[in-house]
Symmetry: C2
Subunit: 242 residues, 2 copies
DNA sequence: TTAATAGTGTCTTTCAGACAATATTAT
DNA sequence: ATAATATTGTCTGAAAGACACTATTAA
């Protein structure tokens, strides 16, 4: 088949769609935009757009910046984690024509409220769960959540959700928000510190204790590990095994 | 951006490329084809082709059948494991035009020698490592190997490399071939049997012992687990952590 | 003073990995 | 008989998770 000229084949449109997750007020949120035009006008969807003369990663970053109204690679977007999630290309996923969408997962610390992009009617952070999105975006979002939940186990990705300097409790709150269950504070604390390269101390502490009392916590920043070993496994997942 | 008509954007060609791995003679092999036409005529490449009016998964399966000369979903191909690996779309990855390739990873038990497809000059099983492939196929292959190595740890995917009924030693040989290091026979044996749902006994044994002696081994088939818990971690991966 | 939180100590159970031992079979 | 292999046993150290405890701070 490779002897055919690619131009002989019916053309596809290629888009990127981004599942951008953040944590606000202790809950996991996803960035969604309200569609301003058909198809699915008035429905909410994941931010996305057509790929131009650029790499797929660049297209995703580009889309992220446009929908958040932030500078790519600078300020709050400088520390965004971005990874390819999967590609969705069922023949009928877009009623207009054959569109293949490369989905990305992005994780960010608490970002400002989004400024709607050029043709979205509105953009906002929506707390999970979220359903009823346009196209196959419910499926894409579910894939993003699965990926994020899973990667918290064996990578230091949780640090992508917190500011550059953070406390162990803040990190624990990330796990609680993403996994949807509280973790034992004492065991979590000891565990995080025991994994080589997960976090490194700054020598500083917070200025104040907690809202309702408690000592001032030590501050940490992300360490140099790319994999957590041993991993931080989710409690009791018997259900998930079969 | 979604208000634009997709047809207004420069068209892409979309292909699937498949990293099909199998184990022959205790070594990991990948299916490669020799390109019969430009670009890269005469070079080896991963099997692949343009996506027609079908889902991406169907296109991959289709391509697999074509390049192996086997019936899709029947016979040896019935038990093939197929999963999406990632999408590669750098603007210059194909000199002819903008081509986005959705890569798939496929794992199969020992298959017959391939029959070259319609326009490949040749097709063969090539023992790893393999380098010098056309396009960005070295990168795609590396991604496939990473994925396979990693998934053997926490999924029962190793069973995709063995016949329907197999011995624990055959399963251990899969791990050895994919990870490139031998595992302790006794510990592996006990470990595999201790993971719920990984394998289930058939009550049968092999007809003969090993080539050079030894008792007849019990036969097993794949169990109903989709995740291994606890996982079978690769020995000593300190290097990989940072 | 009271309550909340950070951080540490201890114990039990599970698991990984090293090593040994026994039984079975091809040659 | 000999060597190879399957399978099981035992031990040690790492790690997970339950629980308790102390110290510090906001209100």
């Amino acid at each position: 088949m490779d002897s055919y000229d690619p131009g002989d084949f019916p053309p596809f449109a290629v888009t990127v769609d981004v599942v951008l997750l953040t944590i606000r007020d202790g809950r996991l949120h996803v960035l969604v935009i309200e569609r301003g035009a058909a198809p699915y006008a008035g429905k909410w969807a994941l931010p996305g757009g057509f790929v131009r003369d650029e790499t797929l990663d660049a297209a995703a970053l580009h889309e992220l910046a446009e929908e958040t109204g932030l500078q790519p690679g600078r300020g709050p977007l400088a520390r965004v984690h971005l990874e390819q999630l999967g590609t969705f290309g069922d023949p009928d996923r877009d009623p207009r024509m054959r569109v293949v969408s490369v989905a990305y997962l992005a994780l960010a610390p608490d970002l400002p409220d989004p400024a709607p992009g050029t043709d979205a009617a509105a953009a906002r952070w929506s707390p999970l769960p979220v359903t009823g999105l346009a196209f196959d975006h419910d499926t894409i979002l579910a894939a993003g959540l699965d990926r994020a939940r899973s990667k918290l186990e064996y990578t230091p990705l949780a640090t992508a959700f917190v500011p550059e300097e953070f406390t162990i409790s803040e990190l624990r709150a990330v796990y609680a928000a993403v996994w949807g269950e509280d973790l034992h504070a004492g065991n979590f604390h000891r565990k995080v510190l025991s994994v080589p390269g997960f976090v490194e101390g700054t020598g500083e502490t917070t200025r104040r204790g907690g809202e309702r009392g408690g000592p001032r916590a030590k501050l940490y920043r992300a360490g140099d590990a790319t994999l957590l070993h041993p991993a931080l496994l989710r409690p009791d997942r018997e259900e998930a095994v079969r």
